[in-house]
Structure formats: C-alpha cells, structure tokens
C-alpha cells in the first residue's frame, strides 16, 4: 500500500474524528464529510483514497462512537498508523474494516505530507527518504476481517 501520510498529534479523540453533533447521522458519506473537522475543516477533501493517518499516542481515545472509524473509512484512509491506540476505538476500527497499525517511533520518521509505503505482510513502513520502521503485524484472523471489509462482511461470508 502506498499513499500520503496525514500527521496528527497525541490523544486524538473521537470528538475530533467526528464531533458529537453529527452522531445523528449513520451514513458513511455524511460522517466522512465531517472527519477531523475540528482540526482541519478541509481534511475530507485533502485525504485521497489510500492515504494514511499517522498519529502519536492514544489515538481514538474518548467515546465508543463507531461513527469515528466509519468516517475514516469514508474518507478513504487505508490505515491509521500510531504510536498507540485507545481500546474501544481499536475494536471498533477492526470491526468496520479500518486497519490500525501500532508503530512505536513512527512520529519521529514521518512528516505531514510524506509519501509512505506499508507492507502489511512484512510489517514494515517505508518513509519517503527510505527510512524503515516495523509495526506489530496483525494476526491472520484480523487480516481476514479487514480484507473482507469488516466483521459483519466476514461473518456473512463465513455463513
């Protein structure tokens, strides 16, 4: 996977990812149009399909709103790469089919706008200057869920 890295800081909470006033909506397109709007009102237009979010520690902290990973999926984010993730968000993102890659040290080697490459099989992220960093590879069952677009599709296909 190749794409542009959009870099954010530590403790990016789910209110930043989708503010509370939009939780009355459930469709991917509407939620995507408000993704990250508290920090960058144009994010949904800048982010292209296949791009990455790179962030610091505790990404996705706060509420259990599944609207947050749905919005990220909607803007086309192919993976979120962070120093660490909050717990409920981790489950929700996997369930809706957004891969989360935990890569301690990632914020030191990636700058906003860098073109990066992610090798899911090898567990390696390559920065635009060629610098490489490892991430914790996802277990096969989780990859399977993600490849099929989320837990519900996975279960439907299994039946």
């Amino acid at each position: 996977m190749k794409g542009t890295a959009w870099k954010f800081g530590n403790d990016i909470d789910t209110d930043i990812i989708v503010p509370g006033r939009y939780l009355i909506y459930t469709d991917e397109e509407t939620l995507a149009s408000h993704c990250m709007e508290g920090l960058d009102a144009d994010f949904d237009r800048k982010c292209k399909k296949g791009d990455f979010i790179v962030a610091g520690t505790n990404f996705g902290c706060g509420s259990s709103r599944e609207h947050a990973p749905i919005a990220l999926k909607g803007v086309g984010v192919s993976a979120v790469i962070a120093e660490s993730f909050a717990r409920i968000f981790y489950r929700n993102a996997t369930n809706v089919g957004v891969p989360l890659l935990e890569a301690p040290g990632i914020t030191k080697i990636i700058e906003n706008g860098d073109e990066i490459e992610v090798d899911m099989d090898e567990g390696i992220i390559t920065a635009s200057n060629g610098e490489k960093i490892e991430f914790k590879k996802l277990p096969p069952f989780m990859l399977e869920i993600l490849n099929q677009g989320g837990l519900i599709e996975y279960l439907k296909n299994k039946r």
């Binding site: 209110d15 939780l23 508290g38 902290c61 706060g62 909050a86 837990l151």
Partner: protein, 414 residues
C-alpha cells in the same frame, strides 16, 4: 490469586479461573444502547441477518442524548429505535422522559454486583461502582451481543487506586478522580481495570463511587470497579430483585498494580482545555466563564444538585454568565423538586431542563460558540466537545461549578 475482574469474567465465561491476558467469551447480563449509538447497532444487527435478539429481558434502551428530539433526523432515530423495541419485545425501554442511561441503569435496578454489563457508550464503566464488570463497546460489537448474548474480551490487568485520607470541606469524588487522571495521564490505564479502594472510598456514597468509576475511561481504563460493601447492598436491594454475587480482589494477585493516593490535603481540582488529564488545583486557574453546566452521568445526581443548591441559595448567577442545570433522571428531578432545589436554581437565574445528556457532547442543547468558555460538571473537555472547536471547556465538581457561576469566573467554594 485473582482480581475481582478476573473472578467476574471467569464466572461469566464458565471457567474455574481466568488470568489477565486470556481471551475469553463472556456471557452478558445487561446490554445497553441509547438513541445515538442505537441506530448503528440496529443497522448492524440487521446486516448480520439476525432475526431475534438473544434475550429481550437483558437489553436496556434509554433515550437520553437527543431528548426530546431536536431535529427531524433525531426524531427519525427515535422512530427507528422504538420500532426495534416493539418488534423485539425489549422489556426495558426508557423513552424521552426518563433520564441519562448511566443513571437509569443503576437507579432502575438493572445493575447488580457480579454482572457483566456492556453498553454502546464509553461511560458504561460507571456501573462498576456496584461491583459489576461494565465496559463500553461499539455498535458492531453490540449487534453481536444482541444476536448471541456474548462477546470476546481480553481479561485486563488491574490498577488498584488505594485512596486514603479524609476529604476537606468542598472537596469531592470529582476532585479525587480528576487528580488521579492528571497523575496517570489520558492513557495511563489503557486496557486496565481501574479499581478504587481505601478508606476514602469506603466513606463515599454509592453516587460518589459512580463518579470515580465513570471517569476511568478518561485514563484509558476498560472498566472502573469498587468492591461491594453494605452501602452497595443497601442500594441494590432497594432497587433490584436480581440475584447477585460479590467478588473481591485478592491483594496478592499477579496482575495487580497498587497505586497509593493520599487525599488529606487535596484541593478542589479543574481539568483545563483540551484534555481531561490537564488538571490543576482551582487556586491556579483564573478564567472568566460564559456558561456553567451542572448535570451529566458524572455529576447530575441528587447529591450534586444538593451541593450546588447549598452554595447558590440566596445568590444570583453573575451577569455575563448563564447556568444550565439538568438533573440526571426523572427520579433525581422529582427529588430536587420535593427538596426545593429547583426553586433555588431558578431564583438564582439558572435554566433548569428536563433530564438528558445536555451540552456534555455538544450535540443537543446548551452548545457553546467560538471563543466561549464552559465550566462543566461532565467528563470530557476535548476540543469541540460542547460545540465550537474554538470554544473551551473546563471540568469541575458541582460545588466549584456553583461557586463559579456566582462569581462569573472559576473559583473554589468558600
């Protein structure tokens, strides 16, 4: 030797014992979703192709976030959820006139010690105050629970906060938990069960213990917990006929990390924008405020209303400040009426609204605009949480909120 989380999860998964790190499938005693996360849960449930929920007596659905409906979209969400309740025969449905989910669940007797409780709301950890294992989940996980009645969990390690000392006047459970979150950081207990123990917690009411557990998520906690005692039993037996089982932590547990906290000299605390772990003593904060919000699943209970009314009685809210009081449930509202508290708030110039989540998550009522400052007794002060991303939210106890409303700036009660 196991922690109380390990004991509860062992029982719920039908095992002799489980250890932190084990992946288990636990049977769920209560599953809660509300008007804001409910529609996604129902949509996922339908996508799975499930027809009937596993047990309509174990699902609780309160409407609390957008009540009464403030837009056609909210009204549509309510219609969708009422239809689901009817079709599935959900026995525990609370419409727009009941109150905030995390007050309704314990108040109506749905929570008893030893239960495993999941809610499609991150503050579900509140219910550990009654000795249950309670945690927030997303809508897809909730759909799985609706269909199967169980869910996979990783058994957490435990951070046990051993809180000792006597709280000074005007220092409350909210100050204790803000102090702990400030100390631990926003990810200081990620994936851990957060147990609150020690003589300070023993001295606290069940309501105060709910304040501690409610905010465990703000340091990343999977759940908050307090070991049940006579106060727990008195609270539960008054409200529930459900059988319960009391579990306590063995202090020699391998998965236990004990953190000692002395609160003898603790001052009232405030969480400053835009993170809950940005905590300072009130004496170090001098900020003018546009809005005060007294309410929420953290501090909208009768004891909070009493604390605030005691300070507000005979006073007026500052000219350039507005105050919004929202009791956490109809029961709390009714008690506040009987005790004359509502009159004190109204006479002081506050707006008193019907039970709901209010401005807490900036989606319904009391939204703040650009440049405005809110002082709130709720649990989160994230950027944009109560409306404009250019607004600021501070968090405090009910007493600090009331004293500050009179002065128009953040102050400690005298």
């Amino acid at each position: 030797m196991p922690t109380m989380s390990e004991k509860i999860l062992a029982k719920a998964s039908g095992k002799e014992s489980v250890e932190a790190g084990d992946i288990i499938i636990a049977n769920i005693d209560i599953a809660m979703t509300h008007d804001l996360t409910g529609p996604l849960s129902v949509q996922s449930f339908e996508k799975i192709g499930a027809e009937k929920v596993w047990d309509p007596s174990k699902i609780v659905i309160p409407f609390d976030h957008q009540v009464p409906a403030d837009s056609i979209d909210s009204a549509n969400n309510h219609i969708l959820m009422r239809k689901f309740v009817k079709e599935q025969g959900i026995e525990n449905f609370y419409d727009v006139n009941a109150g905030v989910c995390h007050q309704i669940l314990p108040e109506k007797g749905h929570v008893v010690p030893g239960n495993v409780i999941v809610g499609a709301d991150s503050h579900t950890c509140t219910h550990g105050a009654l000795g249950a294992f309670a945690t927030g989940i997303g809508s897809t996980d909730m759909a799985m629970v609706f269909a199967e009645g169980n869910l996979w969990f990783k058994v957490p390690e435990t951070n046990r906060f051993n809180i000792t000392g006597k709280l000074q006047d005007n220092v409350y459970a909210k100050d204790v938990i803000l102090h702990i979150i400030g100390m631990m950081g926003a990810d200081g207990s990620t994936y851990k069960a957060c147990e609150f123990a020690g003589n300070t917690v023993s001295d606290m009411s069940v309501s105060d213990r709910m304040v501690l557990c409610n905010m465990a998520i703000e340091m990343g906690g999977k759940t908050g917990l307090v070991e049940p005692d006579q106060k727990t039993i008195d609270y539960v037996e008054k409200r529930s006929n459900k059988p319960y089982e009391i579990f306590k932590t063995d202090l020699d547990s391998d998965s236990l990390n004990i953190i000692d906290i002395d609160v003898d000299d603790l001052e009232p605390q405030v969480a400053c924008p835009h993170n809950v772990d940005n905590v300072k003593p009130v004496s170090e904060v001098d900020v003018e405020i546009d809005q005060v919000f007294l309410g929420s699943c953290t501090n909208g209970r009768i004891s909070d209303l009493r604390d605030a009314a005691r300070i507000l009685k005979g006073n007026r809210i500052a000219e350039n400040t507005r105050m919004l009081v929202i009791p956490a449930s109809r029961e709390v509202y009714s008690m506040a009426l009987d005790e004359g508290l509502i009159k004190i708030f109204v006479d002081a110039g506050a707006l008193v609204s019907a039970p709901c989540c209010g401005p807490c998550l900036g989606g319904h009522t009391g939204i703040i605009g650009p440049g405005e400052v809110s002082l709130s007794t709720s649990n989160r002060n994230f950027k944009g949480r109560q409306g404009s991303p250019d607004g600021k939210v501070y968090l405090s106890s009910a007493a600090v909120a009331a004293a500050s409303a009179i002065e128009g700036r953040i102050v400690a009660p005298e």
